[in-house]
């Protein structure tokens, strides 16, 4: 049975009323007119004390009596074949419990330096380390390729002799793919639109009045979460397996382990009480999870396998690099007619190097043509990384857009405006952002500032998508003492979902967030979303609110029976239940709870589809960022002074954590733009900087002034109306910085990271 509700949707100063249809047992969605106590406010994290006092236990901190420490032996050559492994010497060492090869049967083909060969479990980490040195193996090495250019050459050594199937995780956007060809080291191209004819398109492009074409490059970035990947596995004698995992998808770890070992899902329990960051790389059990489980099964003891920083850089994910050739065709007036992207990128031995999200989804165009391919090289595999493909795509597209604007003599912001006319969110964002930033004060002629220190402004757009999955099950309980719990398996990757769940339940029941006990991070707690694609909040919050609503209805029914009234006569003010006819007669939450039959009220609700039977829901999440930089033309050092970020994310839940997400995304963008770069030694294929000394990440002193404008965009498409922000904020930053650098020095840097030597070389080139 469905019911009809009238809701107000849109931006706060421009609300419209619409009628929606929702299931009978769900509350009326929060909409643009809802006045709420916690949702949308700055609410402190419920786990603040645990995190600031060191009490919070991460997988890294799990210590169980008898626990063994496991470590990987990794290859120090990038390509070859291991035909024999001798584990016996390592096995004999005192304190060593088990040594296992990374692959059950030989030969083991090595495809990158850092690939796992074997794993040791020992009493201490130090013994395990010593044991690794006792493992010997017979191997041959073969030729290898380390860059896209080398890999696509004719007769280049092949990374794979076989066809590779794309492996996707909850962090990737699109897991459905039609057959993709693989030839040599190239997997692809994927063509969009599938039926487009390249030559016909090129004719069309050639006939545009103004054309810009250039090549853009981005580097490989590693996720570098502060807590490395890893697990503690306790394989019980009853073949029930308990896993503590530093994961952003508890259920994905459970499924991988259960599938691999042919166990019942119900016999594998995955726990993630706290976890130290993931950014897309921590889905599934990983080889480390599987090996730890094997070692635990073999030894009958709990096994801890946490990677070290080096293993982290080498083997568990990165953002692929890219080489993008991009063309734009416009009219003289600056209307975009044609967009073309030929994109090659490498995720090492992995896939997922596509970059076409931004070009397909930001601007209006008449025609588009995209060809994108994965290129295999002998380097560690890519993994979904905060907005997969989008920072790369935005770096190319948003610079190309800037270059086109420059060519046409149109203000870059104006050029963006006239080519996104159908998107009223963007139009509003441009106005808000430009005003806050002071876009009109920008240096009109790029590079025209006198003196060695030059300042410039830049702008760039981002796009992400409203994604959610269904079927998550939230449980809310209220016991006879009036204690309230919310229960679900979802893990908190750091975004603060636990706090948000408490806020929602508190909001619905008229309580305060710290009165709600939150039980999450455990697959025994009911299906919850993986934290990928910025869909955690959109996925789980409606289920939680729906469950809290059901619990509230039960409480109202109970109150009605105590008051001797029908339920429609009971009103709720805060957490008090009153007789609508005589409000002096009222009951506290505790008084009603005390009358709960049995022990507790326990209700569950599910994440269903968004409400149906209405006009289309907006599914892009739009954003624009403005950057202010100075370039020291003497040393080539770029400093980011200020970023203004305007983003939409549906209905904001906790503004404190939301802002933090945006700030964090921006810093990752700055770090990507200026510092981070995985460097492989040309001669050996070994990563030169698998640490945090040479693999530089922005620190507190590299941080500019950041101002965020969050647009409260209400669609009331479900009971909470939340969308996501985890990914969008990191997308446009590097492009905005690159555009600002151009504005400062009048020279384009089409390759990331924008390091001092590149700046100086570019300036020298220009002065010639």
């Amino acid at each position: 049975m469905n019911k009809k509700e009238k809701v107000s949707v849109g931006l706060p100063d421009n609300l419209r009323e619409i009628i929606i249809e929702i299931p009978e047992d769900e509350p009326k969605p929060w909409d643009g007119k809802s006045e709420l106590n916690y949702i949308g406010k700055r609410v402190k994290r419920i786990d603040g004390i645990d995190k600031t006092t060191g009490k919070a236990k991460y997988t890294f901190d799990v210590k169980i009596p008898g626990m063994l420490y496991a470590k990987f032996l990794r290859s120090d050559f990038p390509a070859g074949t291991i035909s024999e492994i001798d584990l016996s010497k390592a096995q004999k060492l005192k304190g060593v419990y088990s040594v296992l090869p990374a692959q059950d049967d030989l030969p083991l083909i090595i495809r990158y330096a850092g690939q796992e060969i074997a794993a040791v479990a020992a009493e201490t980490a130090e013994i395990a380390e010593t044991a690794l040195q006792q493992i010997t193996f017979k191997h041959t090495t073969s030729d290898f390729v380390l860059s896209v250019e080398d890999a696509i050459r004719e007769n280049a050594p092949l990374v794979y002799q076989t066809t590779v199937k794309e492996k996707t995780t909850e962090g990737d956007l699109d897991s459905s793919e039609s057959s993709v060809v693989q030839e040599g080291n190239i997997r692809g191209p994927k063509i969009f639109p599938e039926d487009e004819n390249a030559e016909k398109f090129d004719d069309y492009l050639r006939n545009c009045e103004v054309i810009h074409t250039a090549e853009y490059r981005t580097q490989v970035q590693t996720h570098s979460a502060m807590e490395t990947h890893g697990v503690v596995v306790e394989w019980g004698s009853d073949d029930k397996v308990k896993v503590w995992a530093s994961t952003q998808g508890t259920f994905s770890v459970r499924n991988d382990i259960a599938d691999y070992f042919k166990l019942k899902y119900n016999d594998v329990r995955v726990i993630t009480e706290f976890m130290g960051g993931g950014f897309g790389a921590k889905f599934g059990a990983g080889l480390y999870g599987i090996m730890a489980a094997k070692l635990s099964r073999a030894t009958g003891k709990p096994v801890r396998l946490m990677l070290d920083r080096k293993g982290e850089h080498l083997s568990v994910g990165n953002r692929p690099d890219s080489l993008q050739k991009l063309s734009i065709g416009t009219t003289k007036e600056g209307k975009i007619k044609a967009l073309k992207l030929i994109s090659l990128g490498t995720g090492g031995v992995g896939t997922g190097a596509g970059t076409s999200g931004p070009i397909k989804n930001i601007y209006d165009y008449e025609k588009i043509y995209v060809e994108e391919s994965d290129v295999f090289i002998n380097a560690g595999p890519a993994a979904a990384f905060r907005a997969p493909g989008h920072p790369q795509g935005a770096f190319a597209l948003e610079q190309a857009i800037d270059e086109m604007a420059h060519k046409l003599g149109i203000d870059p912001l104006e050029f963006r405006r006239i080519n996104t006319t159908g998107n009223y969110i963007r139009q509003t964002q441009y106005v808000l952002g430009a005003e806050k930033f002071g876009w009109d004060k920008r240096n009109q002629v790029p590079g025209s500032i006198k003196g060695p220190i030059k300042r410039g402004f830049g702008v760039a757009n981002s796009v992400w998508y409203y994604i959610y999955n269904k079927g998550f099950v939230a449980t809310v309980t209220i016991n006879r003492r009036g204690e309230v719990q919310v229960i679900n398996g979802v893990q908190d990757i750091g975004g603060g979902i636990g706090t948000v769940l408490a806020m929602i339940v508190a909001e619905e029941l008229g309580l305060e967030p710290d009165q709600i006990t939150v039980k999450i991070g455990d697959t025994d707690n009911g299906f919850g979303p993986a934290s990928g694609g910025s869909q955690t909040t959109a996925g789980i919050t409606p289920a939680v609110r729906n469950a809290a609503y059901k619990a509230k209805i039960r409480m109202i029914e109970l109150a009605a029976s105590i008051l001797g009234k029908t339920t429609d006569k009971v009103t709720m003010e805060g957490s008090r239940f009153s007789d609508g006819d005589d409000i002096s007669k009222s009951l506290s939450f505790q008084q009603v709870a005390a009358k709960i039959p049995g022990d507790e009220i326990r209700v569950t609700a599910e994440r269903r589809s968004d409400n149906l039977g209405r006009e289309e829901i907006k599914t892009t999440i739009d954003g624009v960022q403005f950057a202010d930089v100075t370039v020291d033309t003497g040393t080539g050092v770029v400093k980011v002074n200020r970023i203004v970020a305007v983003h939409d994310c549906g209905r904001p839940m906790d503004r404190l954590t939301l802002e933090s997400q945006i700030n964090g995304g921006i810093i990752q963008g700055i770090s990507y733009a200026l510092y981070e770069n995985r460097i492989l030694d040309r001669n050996t294929g070994i990563m030169v900087n698998p640490n945090l000394e040479m693999y530089k990440i922005a620190g507190a002193r590299d941080v500019p002034q950041i101002e965020t404008i969050i647009m409260d965009f209400n669609q009331a498409m479900n009971s909470t109306g939340a969308m996501g922000i985890g990914e969008p904020a990191t997308i446009p930053t590097s492009a905005a910085i690159a555009n600002a650098v151009f504005n400062a020095i009048g020279v384009r840097l089409r390759s990331l990271p924008i390091t001092p030597d590149k700046i100086l070389a570019a300036l020298e080139e220009q002065s010639k």
Partner: protein, 471 residues
């Protein structure tokens, strides 16, 4: 090898027979199961492992932040080590409170390190100079928050700390009263006084001396277990003195001790600016001048500084002492004229008397806390617009930390002018041989050294040489 090690960990007395080369991080996490202290890199680059070390000396107790991942137990004898667990008992501290209020943790893995660093900052006076506050957390990496909320929390506690009721008092009693430290700190000075040991002679029959450990523990932590090691801390001088026109700095003096030395401040008023470019505060609190000179890194920052001061090193083998000019110490990449069993006891230089100027410059990829791609120091004596004596050094442009003798010689007797500058650059380029590496191409390093030399002139003689010279 085991040794008896006594120190206080939070409120507990630790008196244990243990291998002194084990890191404090492993001891607190593995042995003591205090898991609030985290690990992000084990190389001093992330700050997740930061703890406080309280050092009792001359009747006063001072706390410093240190990276426990690079700190051997042999270096903390008689100290008070405070981990995140030791910063609050029943009540959380104002720093913890500010972190919660400002939402300064996201995943929270970095949080203990940041809180310890900021607490250390307040314990050392916590001035409201924002730059200094930021410097104190410069060695902590957070991959989630974007630092804005952390900076807000830092601003907040610094403000509270400098408010009237707190007024920046740093004696233990006041700090306990303000809630920054738990009550058990009251007894710490007396308890530490009992633990102090007498300095002993350095044993020369060793395979490896350990100074601050900040270099050794990055390079070869495992190996130290297998060889004979000798800890220098507490046994070699850590003083900075002047006598008879000579300044002598003990080989065990830390970077931060130099940074805060009144004597060095009076000689080089801009010294804080230089040290802010050198490592993070916790590293500066451990790293010694002896270690910097002996590890022979071609881009060692303090080595470059002392080269320009024409310093000498005083070596001691227990039986024999000798002195060597610093510029003659290095013979090739990471090789030097120090014999086995010899340790660096002092570094000395003549205190300049006439009119002089000094400057140090460093460029690296990140604006702060990077090991340099190129660095350079310059010391000029001058009178009436003419340079009378000059010494320039440069790092990152040769296999050894380089004293630029030709350029220095050339400058003597030259007028301070654009022409002199430009001629110097020409000579300089003939003295160097930079190689391409992760930190930049050889070509780029050549260019950088030119820029740094110009920066020396601009900074030392702003009236004569203007910023445009950089172009």
């Amino acid at each position: 090898m085991t040794e008896n090690i006594n120190f206080i960990l939070n409120s507990a007395l630790i008196s244990t027979l243990i291998d002194p080369t084990i890191t404090l991080l492993d001891f607190i996490r593995e042995d003591r199961k205090l898991t609030g202290t985290k690990t992000g890199c084990r190389e001093g680059d992330c700050g997740a492992c930061t703890v406080l070390a309280g050092i009792y000396s001359g009747g006063t107790l001072t706390y410093k932040t240190v990276n426990s991942c690079l700190l051997p137990l042999g270096n903390i004898k008689g100290q008070h080590i405070v981990t995140i667990e030791g910063l609050s008992t029943e009540e959380i501290s104002p720093v913890q409170k500010a972190f919660i209020e400002e939402g300064a943790s996201q995943c929270g893995f970095c949080t203990p390190g940041f809180i310890v660093s900021l607490t250390g900052y307040l314990l050392s006076g916590g001035s409201s100079d924002r730059d200094k506050a930021l410097d104190s957390i410069g060695g902590n990496i957070c991959r989630c928050t974007g630092y804005s909320s952390i900076k807000r929390a830092a601003d907040k506690v610094v403000k509270i700390f400098n408010s009237e009721s707190y007024s920046g008092k740093t004696d233990i009693e006041s700090l306990i009263n303000t809630g920054l430290l738990p009550g058990y700190f009251k007894d710490i000075p007396a308890r530490l006084a009992e633990l102090q040991e007498k300095p002993q002679r350095v044993r020369a029959e060793t395979d490896k001396f350990i100074g601050g450990g900040t270099d050794l523990y990055v390079q070869q932590p495992g190996k130290l277990r297998e060889i004979r090691t000798e800890f220098l801390k507490g046994h070699i001088p850590e003083t900075i003195d002047s006598e008879g026109g000579i300044c002598r700095i003990g080989g065990g003096t830390t970077f931060e001790a130099m940074n805060s030395s009144p004597l060095l401040h009076s000689l080089f008023p801009e010294i804080e600016k230089y040290f802010r470019l050198i490592a993070s505060l916790p590293i500066r609190n451990s790293a010694t001048i002896g270690g910097n000179i002996v590890n022979a890194s071609p881009i060692g920052d303090t080595t470059i500084i002392f080269l320009a001061l024409d310093a000498w090193v005083e070596l001691n083998s227990g039986t024999k002492k000798r002195t060597l000019p610093l510029k003659e110490l290095y013979t090739g990449y990471k090789t030097l004229k120090i014999e086995k069993g010899e340790y660096l006891e002092y570094i000395g230089f003549y205190i300049p008397t006439g009119k002089y100027a000094f400057n140090f410059e460093k460029v690296s990829k990140r604006s702060h806390l990077d090991i340099a791609s190129v660095n350079s120091a310059a010391f000029f004596e001058y009178s009436e617009g003419v340079i009378t004596n000059a010494r320039i050094s440069a790092g990152g442009v040769s296999p050894v930390p380089l004293f630029l003798s030709k350029s220095s010689e050339f400058l003597a007797g030259k007028a301070i002018s654009y022409e002199t500058l430009s001629n110097t650059l020409g000579i300089m380029q003939t003295e160097i041989l930079p190689i391409s590496d992760v930190r930049g191409s050889g070509e780029y390093k050549r260019l950088l050294l030119n820029q740094l030399c110009k920066a020396h002139f601009i900074s030392m003689f702003p009236e004569i040489i203007k910023e445009e010279a950089l172009l």
